[in-house]
């Protein structure tokens, strides 16, 4: 069977009865069985639900009914997104046995569009991390170089798509958790604008930043999945009524004459030389495609990491207060209610989650709120203003996704601040709420993929996808 299935390939093959959706699901489970022991990309498989869905698709084919856009497409779901009846651990011991009683809206929409859910993918605990090494279930290995990290926090979703264990996957992005693993594993990966995709059923880390988005093998497939999961959901008051364009069709629009901003602040010290060369070649490629390049300034970029780690941890400390051993998850008995809370949380959370809860609690506590949390919210406004100002001059902003390629497993686990600083190019767009994609832009050291990031205006996903598609078609991945 074809090694590299795409959404279009699956639809055509299923519609022409060259393969049944059931056979295809079986093929992907075989691949998972062959690779997952090594990669650790999947935490839980859901064959019962997958085959039932595949049979529904096959019945539609047999009856000659029109097929929905993702008919028979095998997909993987990050384990922080709720799936009814399928264990959802968030990569944490505290939810080791948790089985959600409902589906996230994004999952429901994927299945309604015909997608076949293969299972749940590994991730950093509660999506907190940049390497997938914070999972309570062990790290994921990068399929491109198995002694390297896949990036995080959506490392399992990125690795699954890169290794051909799923045609597309959902991840979540709070400070770079879709885009950075997409870059490290060499697959396109996108977060839409804040509010574009419903967060209902996404187990919360930082509610003003969390977004669900797709990984796929090419930009058109990213567009197809984004289109299905986007749009208003009454269950999430922050999801917008802004119309959802036909993203897949939009990718074909010409990019000639579009103005691309290159922010000087994203090309400073600390960037790997190999990455810099690839990104510069990527920028040249946009020039060849007829785009106009403009040097721009985003003066508050250097404050983004500090701002992000104050706001995200503050929100996390509040969101994770719900894990108290009462309604779901782990309980460690104590001699009083408070001692039960303390023991449960002390035993159930891993080191990074505890560190962030501590930091978030500190910045919200009496006496420090104004100095840290309020200050962070004010600087967030300045960072968002940088983007607004830039978009008065340019149509899109192009940067590296990460200053470095995938690092070796264990190389950065001892110094959390150094790990945080690697998120420098992704957290800005998270704070500003703008859409962003990472697309493959060559490899360094002969094997480690480099990601090029494109930011667009709020709700300007179509423009981002156009540029990404044009870049990909022009051979950007092989620069």
């Amino acid at each position: 069977m074809t090694a590299n299935w795409t959404i279009e390939g699956v639809r055509e093959a299923v519609a022409a009865k060259k393969v049944s959706a059931r056979e295809l699901a079986g093929e992907f489970y075989k691949r998972i069985e062959a690779r997952n022991t090594e990669l650790n990309a999947f935490l839980t498989l859901s064959p019962e639900r997958a085959y039932a869905q595949a049979e529904r698709v096959d019945a539609m084919v047999a009856a000659g009914k029109p097929l929905p856009p993702l008919a028979g497409v095998p997909v993987a779901i990050k384990d922080v997104i709720s799936t009814r009846g399928i264990r959802t651990t968030c990569g944490s011991k505290i939810l080791e046995k948790y089985v959600p009683p409902y589906d996230a809206t994004a999952v429901e929409r994927l299945e309604k569009a015909g997608a076949v859910i293969l299972g749940k993918t590994n991730c950093d605990e509660f999506a907190m991390g940049s390497s997938n090494e914070n999972s309570a279930y062990g790290p994921v290995r990068n399929p491109e170089a198995t002694d390297h990290v896949p990036g995080g926090s959506s490392g399992g979703s990125a690795a699954a798509v890169a290794a051909g264990l799923a045609v597309a996957a959902l991840g979540t992005d709070t400070g770079g958790s879709i885009r950075q693993p997409g870059a490290f594993c060499g697959v396109p990966a996108m977060m839409g604008s804040y509010g574009r995709v419903s967060r209902y059923g996404l187990i919360a880390f930082a509610s003003s930043l969390d977004r669900i988005g797709p990984f796929a093998r090419n930009v058109k497939d990213v567009a197809s999945v984004l289109q299905i999961i986007s749009g208003r959901d009454p269950q999430d008051s922050t999801s917008t009524t802004a119309p959802v364009p036909d993203y897949r069709a939009e990718t074909e629009k010409p990019v000639k004459g579009l103005r691309i901003g290159i922010p000087t602040e994203y090309f400073g010290a600390g960037m790997d030389d190999g990455v810099r060369k690839k990104i510069e070649a990527g920028i040249e490629l946009f020039k060849k495609l007829g785009c106009k390049l403009l040097d721009i300034h985003m003066p508050h970029t250097d404050y983004a990491i500090a701002t992000y780690y104050i706001i995200a941890t503050a929100e996390a400390s509040s969101n994770l207060a719900r894990y108290d051993g009462v309604r779901y998850g782990l309980r460690v008995e104590g001699d009083s209610l408070l001692s039960m809370y303390r023991k449960t949380r002390g035993a159930g959370f891993g080191a990074e989650v505890k560190r962030r809860i501590m930091l978030g609690t500190y910045v919200l506590s009496a006496g420090y709120y104004d100095d840290y949390y309020l200050k962070g919210q004010k600087v967030r406004a300045l960072i968002a203003q940088d983007f607004q100002d830039a978009f008065t001059k340019v149509d899109a902003i192009v940067t590296p996704t990460s200053p470095v390629p995938a690092f070796r497993l264990g190389e950065r686990t001892n110094d959390p601040l150094q790990m945080y600083l690697a998120d420098i190019y992704t957290v800005t767009g998270s704070l500003a709420g703008v859409p962003g994609i990472s697309i493959p832009c060559g490899k360094v050291c002969g094997k480690l993929p480099v990601g090029l990031q494109i930011f667009g205006r709020p709700f300007g996903e179509a423009r981002v996808l156009q540029l990404a598609h044009a870049f990909e078609r022009a051979g950007g991945a092989d620069l």
Partner: protein, 101 residues
């Protein structure tokens, strides 16, 4: 040094986290490093800046006003919800005794 051992204990108490001796010292050092780094935000004058809690403006958000307070059916059913509890006593969640006498 911004963070003392007492600060760590106070924060752990607020967050209901049992920490080991080793964790207390590790977190003291790490929080100290991170907050030291976060101090760079003070380089910026933000007196006239409005804090940003939410990126979306009202015109992007249909629900900026509150919805009608209506009863709507919930997808999840009580038995399934209670089945996830460590110590359920349907239709209740049971917790350790909080009243002494």
């Amino acid at each position: 040094m911004k963070i003392s051992r007492e600060d760590v204990l106070r924060v752990a108490e607020l967050a209901y986290l049992d920490l080991s001796e080793a964790e207390i010292e590790t977190y003291r050092k790490q929080l100290d490093d991170i907050l030291e780094y976060a101090g760079k935000l003070n380089e910026l004058d933000t007196h006239s800046v409005e804090p940003m809690a939410q990126v979306m403006t009202d015109d992007q958000n249909a629900d900026a006003t509150l919805r009608e307070d209506l009863v709507v059916p919930c997808g999840a059913v009580a038995e399934e919800v209670l089945a996830q509890a460590p110590d359920p006593e349907p239709p209740y969640f049971r917790v350790p005794k909080v009243i002494e006498r």
